[in-house]
Symmetry: C2
Subunit: 193 residues, 2 copies
DNA sequence: CTAGCTTCTGGACAGGTGTCCAGTTTGAGG
DNA sequence: CCTCAAACTGGACACCTGTCCAGAAGCTAG
């Protein structure tokens, strides 16, 4: 089991940031062409016009690289619209649909990111924690339902993501599925007499 | 990307069945000692008293091997008690708790199986389909709630499994969590007109 | 006992992954 | 324009994974 290199530094500056950006972009293109299995850190490096060793300076593995792609998109996602657009269920579903659709434009990319995110590596772990936090913030900011309901919905969200990542579900169907699920879970107690 | 070997034949007889059994058992012991990362098909083969090439005759990878471990335990799990033991929610939770606890005796084993099951390999895929079917049968046999509620709960179940597999949740807490989740999801359907 | 099948062996093999490091390029500041 | 540290290079390296195959060992039936 090879040792992993340093994670990308919290603060990388100027040229480095640019290199990392090029790498993550190249990864997206590479996965579109060769899918997850065919993606190689060396291949990504070549496409980004960078030596393999350089790529390995910033990313310890292809999983780390793909998880970073997802993380960057999530980081750049605007907060869910704070205007109360509908029922609590609808708002919750919308907040997480946006996350599910982050990489949905390319099915190969979404599958790859899902697989990568599940990897058992320290760098991926760190990114996963950050992502989990962000997701939690989004959902608990979207509605003030009971903690149990929030947790149930969050679990269902991850379940749906994984199912989609494994190809048992289509990413394009996730918003509808999440909406249905949310309506099932969140209290309609107020509607009920 | 190496080509995968034949899956273990549907009908393997006598000596072969015994070899496979010894391999799966050795895998359990091996993972207890070295965790997922440290497990090696070659190591399992040695422990089972078998040449590496023989192990690779039946299992294409360590993920395949571990997925088979899980599948065998699920296959041998008795049907959930058909006696209506409680509310629909309780019965559903119980039916899936049993699955969640299949490998819960050893945390390393449960984590390993979860990771393995998520792998993107044809052999794992096949086992996953079988397992998914079995799970679906169990839950839909346990309650006659609405399809939307069933689906929501099933998604939450997978979400919980994955969270546990990644260490964000403890396997021992899954039964309680599933019970809470089931109670959140199920009852309302019938209460509302 | 022997023939003939099935199963297992052991070792070589190609391909791929992440690490390392001595040396070169880059570009910012003096 | 020169200096110097930061950043990148390229190629060798050790390790691991799954595949292959020629032959040995184990069984079963005649």
């Amino acid at each position: 089991m090879p040792r992993t290199t340093e994670a990308p530094r919290a603060r990388l500056s100027g040229r480095q940031a640019e290199t990392v950006r090029r790498l993550t972009e190249a990864a997206v293109e590479e996965v579109a062409e060769h899918r997850y299995e065919g993606l190689t850190v060396r291949g990504v490096a070549k496409r980004a016009g960078v030596a393999p060793a350089t790529a390995y300076t910033y990313f310890a593995s292809k999983n780390h690289l793909l998880a970073e792609v997802f993380w960057r998109r999530l980081r750049d996602l605007p907060e869910p619209d704070p205007l109360p657009g509908g029922s609590p269920a609808d708002r919750a579903a919308e907040a997480l649909s946006a996350v599910a659709l982050l990489v949905a434009d390319d099915p190969a990319l979404s599958a790859a990111c899902t697989t990568a995110m599940l990897a058992d590596e320290p760098n991926v772990l760190r990114l996963r924690a950050r992502i989990g936090l962000r997701v939690h913030e989004r959902i608990s900011g979207a509605t003030d339902a009971s903690p149990a309901a929030l947790q149930a919905f969050e679990l269902a969200f991850y379940g749906a993501l994984v199912q989609a990542g494994m190809g048992h579900l289509s990413y394009r169907d996730l918003p509808d599925l999440l909406a249905t699920t949310a309506r099932t879970i969140f209290p309609r107690t107020e509607e009920c007499p």
